[in-house]
Amino acid sequence: MEHAAPPAWVMLAYLISGVFFILALRGLSSPATSQRGNRFGMAGMLIAVVTTLITHEVAALPEILGAIAIGGGIGWVTARKIAMTDMPQLVAAFHSLVGMAAVLVAAAAFLNPEAFGINGADGLINPVSRVEMGLGIAIGAITFSGSVIAFLKLAGKMSGAPILLPLRHVINLGTLAAILGLIAYFTVDQSPWIFWTITALAFLIGFLLIIPIGGADMPVVVSMLNSYSGWAAAAMGFTLHNTAMIITGALVGSSGAILSYIMCKAMNRSFISVIAGGFGAEAAASGGAAKEQRPWKRGSAEDAAYMMQQAESVIIVPGYGMAVAQAQHILREMADVLKKQGVSVKYAIHPVAGRMPGHMNVLLAEAQVPYDEVFELEDINSEFAQTDVAFIIGANDVVNPAAKTDKTSPIYGMPVFDVDKAKTVFFIKRSMGGVGYAGVDNDVFYMDQTMMLLADAKKMCEDIVKALQH
C-alpha cells in the first residue's frame, strides 16, 4: 500500500499546528509576549492531536484517553510541584521521555508498517522509510540514555565528575560507525535483528557519550540532548509524512543546536572538546600539589553591609553556588534593603552560570527580581569600572581574570566579568579550599580590594540583611 494522500484540510491542520509552534518560540523574544506564545504552543498541540484522532480509525479510544490522562496527570503534577532550582534535571528527564517515545513509535512502525502506510508494493517497508525509521530509533535511543545520565548527574544521584574509560574515543567512534553501517544495510535487508541491534547500540552510545562529561558542562549537554529530541521527532515526521512533526523537529533541533553553540562560545571551547569530555579532571589532579599560599583578606557580614550602604552602585554576580544554597530569595531581600537606602543594584548573568541556559534568570525571576534589573555579560561588563561594589555569590570561573591574561589557563579566552575593575569586591565562598569547575586558582581572591566572605551563601545573605537593618 502506497501513501494515500490525506484530504487537503488534514494537511492544512498540521501546517497550522506547525505555524503555531513557530509562533510559540517567536513569543519568547520578550517576557511580555512569552505567555501568549506558550498558549499558541498548546493550541498547536491540541490541533495536531485532535486531527490525528479524527482522521484515523481508532480501535482503542478508551485506552488512548486513559494513557493521555495518566501521562498528562503525572506531567501536570510534576510541573506544579517542582522547585525552580531542580529545573535542569526536570528538563533532562523530559528529554529522556521524548527520546523513549520516539523509540517506541519507531518500533511500532517497524512491527505494524501497514498502520503507518509505509509498505511498498512488494509488501516490504519502503527503503527510504527504513532509513528514516533507523535514524529515528537511533536518535531517540541516544536521547533517552544520554538524558537519563544527564538527569542522574544533575540530580546528584550520580557523581558529577567525569568518568573516563580507556579508549573511549575509539569505542564511541566504532559504535557510531556500526550504527550508521547497520542503517545503510537495513535498506537492503529488513530483518528484525538489524533493527534491534541499531536500537541497542544507540542506547549504549548515548550512555557512553555522557558519562565522561563533567557537571558544569551540563548546559551544553542538556542543550545538545534538546536538539537530538528535535531531530528524532523530525525523523519520525519524515516516516509519517507529517508537516507538524517535521516543522517542530526542525525548530527544536535548531534551537538546541544554537543553545549549545552559545554555551560553547561563552566558555571559549569547541563543541568537540566539550563532547569529548573529561574537562577539569586533569587540571584538578595536577593543580593540587604545588599550590602557593598567598595572602587574602577575610570580611564579615557587617563589613559587607557597611560597604554596600556607602556605595552608589552594586553589581551582583550569581552562579551555581547561589542555586545550591537556595539563596536567591534572601539575595533579593538584601537588594531591596539596599535599594531603599538609595543604592543602585544590578545583576550580571554569565551565559554559562548555572547548570542550564538561563538557569540564573529563572531563579532570580522566582525570587521576584524584576527582569529589567538583570543584565547579560556584554551589556553590563563595561560598568564594573564605575562600580563601587561587585558582589559575587556562588560564581567563580566566570569572574576569573586568568581567562584574559594567562594563556596556559584551561579557561583562557573565555569571556569573563571584569570584577577586578570594581572598587571593592565581596566574594562569597564556602571555604578557601575549593576551586572552580575548571580547577584553576582565581586571582580575584588575593586582590587588595577583595574581601572573602567565607560561609554558606544563604546564611551570609541573611547576616548581611540583619546588619543592614541595624
Binding site: I22, G75, A79, A108, N361
Partner: protein, 93 residues
C-alpha cells in the same frame, strides 16, 4: 507527498528555526528549553497512530506507552513553561 516536498519543508523550517531562536532573549533560555521539549512531544501523533491501529497488539501497546510518555511531556512541559513565564515581572513603577 513525495520525499522532495517533505525535505523542502524540513530545510525551510530549519532556517525559520535558526532565525526565530536567535531572536529569543537569553533571559528566557530555560523556558525555551521547556517549551521546545513540550512541542517536540508532537511525536504523540505517531504514537496515536500506532495505538489506534488494529493488526499488531504489540505495536498497539508500544503506541499506548508512547502516548502516555509524550503526554507527561506535553502537559508537564507547557505547565512548567507557563509557571516560569508568569514569574518574569517588570519593575513596578
Amino acid at each position: 507527498m513525495d520525499f522532495i516536498s517533505i525535505l523542502s519543508i524540513f530545510v525551510m523550517a530549519c532556517f525559520v528555526g535558526y532565525y526565530v531562536v536567535w531572536s529569543v532573549t537569553p533571559a528566557l533560555h530555560t523556558p525555551l528549553m521547556a517549551v521546545t521539549n513540550a512541542i517536540s512531544s508532537v511525536i504523540i501523533v505517531g504514537a496515536l497512530i500506532a495505538a489506534a491501529a488494529g493488526g499488531s497488539p504489540t505495536a498497539k501497546w508500544l503506541g499506548l506507552i508512547a502516548v502516555a510518555l509524550a503526554s507527561v511531556n506535553i502537559f508537564g512541559g507547557f505547565a512548567v513553561t507557563a509557571r516560569m513565564l508568569a514569574m518574569y515581572k517588570k519593575k513596578e513603577r
